[in-house]
């Protein structure tokens, strides 16, 4: 299926990408994206972060060819974004699963399978496998999608994104609207995809998800890239150490405090680790407001 092969380590290359939305008369209305440059490398899970309206979904849509760039260039799997052939190796999960509500799960997967020109036997096999993978209850599979709950829609959405066994998976808010259990499943799935050597590009504002699964992240604000780098590097900057353990008794906490004291350190707080990225995120947003144009890149890949 793939033709370009592994000629490059970079799966997505974005150079100087800008997008200006215009009104009916062609007058510029909103500058949604401003001179964005970034690379996504093969096999990594890359997270795009940013508050609402920061340009992350715009970036995804530009990558997919749903929007046309005002300026700049995109190379995705070695092809232009306008080239339909690139879609052969891409799986895309939209923010809300924009599927046909009058089809049932099998019909949906069969339909998208056909769009990949897959033969019938392969479609059938893939459908079963994917429906099991996303854990869609067997009794729900013959019902039309309009009867599905939010979580079920999301699951079938993921299944359709993976119907072609893509090399690059783009996920727009993959965990939105999922219950904690579904959330867990989704994260497992992303990590699983990574394990299979696939590249994942996701955008989200649920920081816990991003922190758990992403290798690298970029934070966008107001259409501009603010922070980019490896998640661990970005967070390592703080001179704090986190210990993650199973639930401790008060006595154990007191013991640990004693140990810390012995080593000349104070116990600062006992908390969940997500807060760290959240801090970073909030700090970045705050900083962007205070010091426009500032950028932190701890990565070196993109300049």
């Amino acid at each position: 299926m793939s033709t370009s092969g592994r000629s490059t380590e970079t799966v997505i290359e974005i150079r100087n990408l800008s997008k200006v939305y215009r009104d009916f008369w062609g007058r510029p209305k909103v500058k949604a994206l401003n001179a964005l440059s970034l690379d996504v490398r093969k096999g990594e899970v890359f997270g795009l972060l940013g508050p609402n309206g920061s340009g992350k979904t715009t970036t995804l849509k530009l990558l997919l060819g749903l929007l046309f760039p005002t300026e700049g260039e995109i190379t995705i799997l070695g092809r232009s974004a306008a080239d339909v052939a690139k879609n052969e190796r891409i799986g895309y999960l939209p923010e809300e699963s924009y599927l046909y509500r009058f089809l049932n799960a099998y019909e949906t997967l069969d339909f998208y399978g056909r769009l990949f020109d897959m033969p019938a036997s392969q479609r059938k096999e893939r459908s079963e496998k994917l429906l099991d993978l996303v854990k869609l209850a067997p009794q729900a599979r013959h019902r039309q999608l309009k009867e599905y709950s939010k979580g079920m829609t999301r699951r079938i959405g993921v299944a359709q994104a993976l119907i072609n066994d893509p090399d690059l998976v783009m996920l727009d808010e993959p965990t939105s609207g999922l219950d904690p259990l579904g959330n867990r499943d989704m994260k497992d799935l992303i990590l699983d995809l990574k394990k299979q050597g696939k590249t994942v590009l996701m955008c989200s504002h649920l920081l816990a998800d991003v922190q758990d699964v992403c290798d690298r992240i970029a934070i966008l604000y107001g259409g501009e890239l603010k922070v980019m780098g490896r998640v661990d590097e970005l967070l390592k900057a703080q001179d704090e150490t986190q210990i993650l353990s199973s639930k401790l008794s008060d006595e154990a906490i007191r013991d640990i405090e004693a140990v810390l004291k012995k080593h000349g350190a104070d116990m600062l707080k006992v908390d969940q680790p997500t807060a760290n990225l959240e801090d970073l995120f909030l700090k970045t947003v705050q900083e962007s407001r205070d010091r426009p144009g500032h950028r932190t890149v701890k990565d070196g890949a993109a300049s």
Binding site: Y21, L66, N87, Y98, F102, Y112, R114, L115, F116
Partner: protein, 539 residues
């Protein structure tokens, strides 16, 4: 009834089509290249070349499976959205139609049968076409609105395939509806028409000939005499002179005769009397068969006309001359080497006239079953429906649903025969050539404002030369626009069936198919480009 089925000049039509499509695509290419150059300067040329290249790639990477998937999806969508509820309306109409059209079914006349047949065909067309227009106009815009199309285009589905899939899918729905409706309609007609009148449900298969005239002195003429009719369709031959109407029928042989070996000639001549004469007796005519190769002739006895109703003359194959008793064989002695049969009609009554046009005399081949004609007419509706789907889907690639509906409906209305005649007159622009009086756009405005008589010549100066020049350009543009509007006159085949004729292929179905194909290519390409240059996400 007077219709004049003419075979479509296929070759000319194709040339004409190529000219129009060629001119239009050149205009589109030039305009888009220019606008690209303006907006992107130097890079414009490169973008243009890339786009062309990409389109060609798309064209060659079409996949039947994807198109089929999209067609099937369209079909299921319409089906599950209860578009087939139209059957309920149909059923209701037919359940009660009998009440209103019943009349006295015991002594049913040809006119009543005609009403039944045209009612059914018209109902089918009027129920399916609007449904299909709305369905196919709203298909793509609705998909864009709920963004299900976004998921599709992020798959390797080409925009061309999306357009094609839509066109095929809606055509499938329409076909299903038509199949069921025409089936039910057919059964309904056959059941409504009582057994006594069932022999009126036939499809006559006419062979039309070429018509020439001889004037009263026996010289060849294109037309006969005009007796003052405004409509110059029929012309008249004078009785008891050398005036003749000569029909030459092609392709005559044994198979033209009925099972008993008789030739059936049907005519519908009109009478014009220059004096009243014997008013109780219809005017008389006779036929003369003449073989141009051997010079053999045979004249039949005089027969009375039956104005506006028609006469069927059964001519037996074995002809015995009433003057010299010689016997002739109709096929062997009178059909020329090229397979044509020449029949001369003359009017018997002195100073009286018989009026006729080409379709007023035809050879009636053995009839075909009513079902054949009926379903051919249904096929005509089918082709029209596919054309409608094509136009609506194309429109919907760049317009919102309601606007696409209006566009398609307007195209359909303008496609009628009268609208085209009106536009033709508008295009000609000059009254001396059969167009409207008063000149083109600016000239007519000028004339209206200055109260200038349309027959008055315009002053000869620079300003008016420029004005008429601009008018000419505008008219040329209008001409091009008019070419885009389909000519729908071929599609109405119900007239044939309701008048008891078979639907001739060469003058109806073939033109319809050609028109469909002619629209298919440009429409699909337009839809493809419109969808491709469209940013689906932007509102």
């Amino acid at each position: 009834m007077s219709f004049d089925p003419q075979d479509m000049p296929v070759f000319d039509a194709i040339v004409y089509w190529m000219v129009v499509v060629g001119v239009l695509s050149i205009i589109v290419m030039v305009v888009s290249l220019l606008s690209l150059l303006v907006s992107h300067r130097g890079a414009g040329l490169r973008i243009f070349a890339e786009e062309i290249l990409r389109s060609l790639t798309d064209l060659f990477s079409l996949s039947i499976r994807r198109i089929w998937a999209l067609s099937k999806l369209t079909f299921i969508e319409a089906y599950r959205r209860k578009a087939l509820a139209v059957f309920v309306v149909f059923a209701l109409l037919f359940m009660f139609a009998g009440w209103f059209m019943g009349g006295d079914t015991r002594d049913m006349t040809t006119d009543q049968v005609k009403v039944y047949v045209s009612f059914v065909l018209r109902t089918i067309a009027w129920l399916t076409l609007p449904l299909i227009v709305v369905l196919s106009s709203f298909g793509i815009p609705e998909e864009i609105r709920v963004r299900s199309l976004h998921t599709v285009v992020t798959k390797p589905a080409r925009r061309l395939e999306i357009v094609l899939g839509r066109v095929f899918g809606f055509s499938m729905i329409g076909t299903l509806v038509l199949l069921v409706m025409s089936g039910v309609g057919y059964i309904w007609i056959v059941r409504q028409v009582p057994a006594s009148a069932r022999d009126m449900l036939v499809c006559r298969v006419p062979v039309y000939g070429k018509l020439q005239f001889l004037d009263r002195a026996g010289n060849p003429a294109d037309k006969g005499v005009n007796v003052g009719d405004l409509w110059e369709f029929r012309s008249y031959i004078e009785g008891a002179t050398k005036a003749r109407a000569i029909w030459v029928f092609p392709g005559i042989g044994e198979r033209t005769l009925d099972s008993d070996g008789n030739l059936h000639l049907e005519n519908q001549f009109l009478a014009f009397r220059s004096y009243k004469g014997n008013m109780k007796q219809s005017l008389l005519y006779d036929y003369q068969f003449r073989n141009p190769d051997t010079g053999a002739t045979y004249t039949t006895e005089a027969r009375p006309i039956n104005e506006n109703r028609g006469v069927t003359d059964v001519i037996s194959r074995k002809l015995v001359s009433r003057t010299d008793g010689k016997t002739y064989d109709l096929i062997k002695d009178f059909v020329a080497r090229d397979g044509t049969l020449r029949i001369e009609v003359s009017c018997i009554d002195r100073e009286q006239y018989l009026g006729m046009a080409r379709p007023d005399l035809f050879i009636r081949k053995p009839d075909v079953s009513f079902a054949v004609g009926f379903f051919k007419a249904a096929a005509g509706i089918e082709i029209m429906m596919i054309l409608v789907v094509l136009l609506a889907v194309t429109g919907s690639t760049f317009l919102k649903g309601p606007i696409a509906t209006v566009l398609t409906s307007v195209l359909m209305i303008l496609g009628g025969e009268k609208a085209h005649a009106f536009m033709d007159q508008l295009m000609i622009g000059r009254s001396d050539k059969g167009g409207f009086q008063g000149g083109g756009f600016f000239e007519s405005i000028y004339r209206i404002i200055t109260h200038m008589n349309p027959t008055t010549e315009l002053p000869d100066n620079m300003g008016f030369t420029i004005m008429t020049g601009v008018d000419g350009l505008l008219t040329g543009f209008l001409w091009l626009c008019k070419q885009v509007i389909p000519r729908l006159q071929y599609f109405n085949m119900s007239e044939y069936v309701s008048n008891g004729f078979d639907v001739p292929f060469g003058s109806t179905l073939l033109p319809c198919l050609l028109i469909l194909v002619g629209y298919f290519l440009p429409c699909v390409m337009l839809g493809y480009f419109a969808l491709r240059i469209r940013e689906l996400e932007s509102k």
